[in-house]
Symmetry: C2
Subunit: 367 residues, 2 copies
Amino acid sequence: MHYFDIVVVGAGLAGSTAARVVAEKGKKVLVVEQHRHIAGHCHDAKNEAGITIHTYGPHIFHTNNKKVWDFVQQFSDFNCYQHHVLSYAEGRFIPFPIHVDTINEIFGTHIPASEVSNFLAEQVQSSKFTNPPRTFRDAIVAQVGEKLYELFFENYTRKQWGRDPSLLSAEVAARIPVRANRDGRYFSDPYQGIPSRGYTAMVQAMLEHPNISVLLGANWFELKNGLNAPLTIFTGELDKFFDFKHGKLEYRSLKLVLKTFNKEHYQSASVINYPNDYDWTRITEYKYFLDEQSPHTTVCFEYPKPEGEPYYIVMTKENIARREHYMREVETLEKTGRWLFLGRLAEYKYYNMDQVIAAALQKVGTI
Amino acid sequence: MHYFDIVVVGAGLAGSTAARVVAEKGKKVLVVEQHRHIAGHCHDAKNEAGITIHTYGPHIFHTNNKKVWDFVQQFSDFNCYQHHVLSYAEGRFIPFPIHVDTINEIFGTHIPASEVSNFLAEQVQSSKFTNPPRTFRDAIVAQVGEKLYELFFENYTRKQWGRDPSLLSAEVAARIPVRANRDGRYFSDPYQGIPSRGYTAMVQAMLEHPNISVLLGANWFELKNGLNAPLTIFTGELDKFFDFKHGKLEYRSLKLVLKTFNKEHYQSASVINYPNDYDWTRITEYKYFLDEQSPHTTVCFEYPKPEGEPYYIVMTKENIARREHYMREVETLEKTGRWLFLGRLAEYKYYNMDQVIAAALQKVGTI
């Protein structure tokens, strides 16, 4: 099968973006996908109740990258969905991330937004932690103090990562947003929304190009010897590519439990975090994302687990070291011009959706 | 790419049934489909109004073949939809096919069902036609007489086939149902219905087998030299396979025009024929098929046309002769054990959905 110039392994956002970019440059592309659906982890589909379910858990698109925003606009309209999250703490639903309303709810104060920074500084001053922070715990306490850390982060992190937060590196905490204003949105990026007909339809439109063929339900590892393309863009699991020669890279996975109820709404926000109570970390009510009208509603309970579909890379010393070994081999392969490694799995790197598209545009743009 | 034991060309009902049967026998199967969707002409999808649209015009499943019914049940539930058709004639909507209610409506009579046969015999006796019938016209007039022929068949056939009915062979009329009872259903087969989640979902389930990979958006004619499978099951166009060496086989095609209205219903039946008025042959209101609830409704106007997506084979002498030439070549190829030709396009044969599945089960069952 020498018909294709480029084989892309994986039809997720990384692979589909890459395929589209090279197809538009006139290359014949074969996308090989092991699942029987495209769009990878942002796959969605309507369920029996007519509600669009994100198959692998909630995905909210947000970016500050105009290039990425312009790119996705070609393939889908986006609605104006703005993400708001509540966190269930002390028996109440509290606005999250931490901003002025969160503080006034928790401490029973009535401070204005302009006082948030001072208030948090006082909280931090009366807390115990190592400075500079070395662990996840210390990194959060250094930002918001012990009380808010314990209410919103400590147990959530324990559930999410299956580890005591004092054992996690401080870097994991870098993405925690704290707002010294009244903006209660979860993301403050200038471009936000959900594709109006869903992510799958958006990715389908990306792949709708005369130069792109898509092979579903096929194991590339079994086929690769027969494909023999001049360039392979690999977006699958890094360790598996190298037959685990430097050891297995760990992923955190999720058990997702869907329930449909015969009522308009189950909860008052699309996502509610449960840091301290119950075994799930959060509940997502999907109909909010596309403002879908139905007498029914479907919600998703998320239970983190150590094995299964690979969701989140685990930033332990061992995994970071293993990644380094693999990435040195990747570098050598990429220098031949016959290989490119791209995306969350192939780079063993935490990417948001917009970041993986940005990386694909940048890396593949030079081919 | 010697990885696959069998290549199936086309992911319609013929190809998908064949793929499933051989996959269950342990063969590794690659299904190559030129479109970017599976299910061929029975493809369906929900539109913006949440109504399931049959992309290539209305498809109603009906069969008297228990084997076929048992086969499809494995992949989908079916609802209990019973097809009823109205025909617009003399400014009124008349039940069709012809049964006792049709006759009483048209002739202003009040005869019971038991009188239908006698009544039609009288109609036939007072009509002019050649016996035995040689043309489509004569074949119908011989069954129902001139008046009913002119009202329901003459102009419909002219629109449908773009030819005067006296030029069409009598065989085309063989499938005309006339009922000497009160049964107003369009089909009287013991097994009838629509797949509850649509035809695409049913075919998707057929193709969901670990031994099946599906390649979408790929032109098999361009890929075939690289595939080199021990057996190819071809369900594409017969004349194209042989590079049109014996001439082009003619197909009748359709222009389908979809319109969505902001009301519960557009018409009082799923399908209404327009034999004499307007340029369309019929209007289908899709929500009836799956009893879909919506404040909107989507209808489809069908305009027959001579070129485009191949819908119906055209049974002229020329086409029948050309088919014979091609089928002799097919026979030779099939004897090698490396080729199998299957389905409406590859056999240039009128097949209902159940008939193509029956043919696939029978032909592929012996592999």
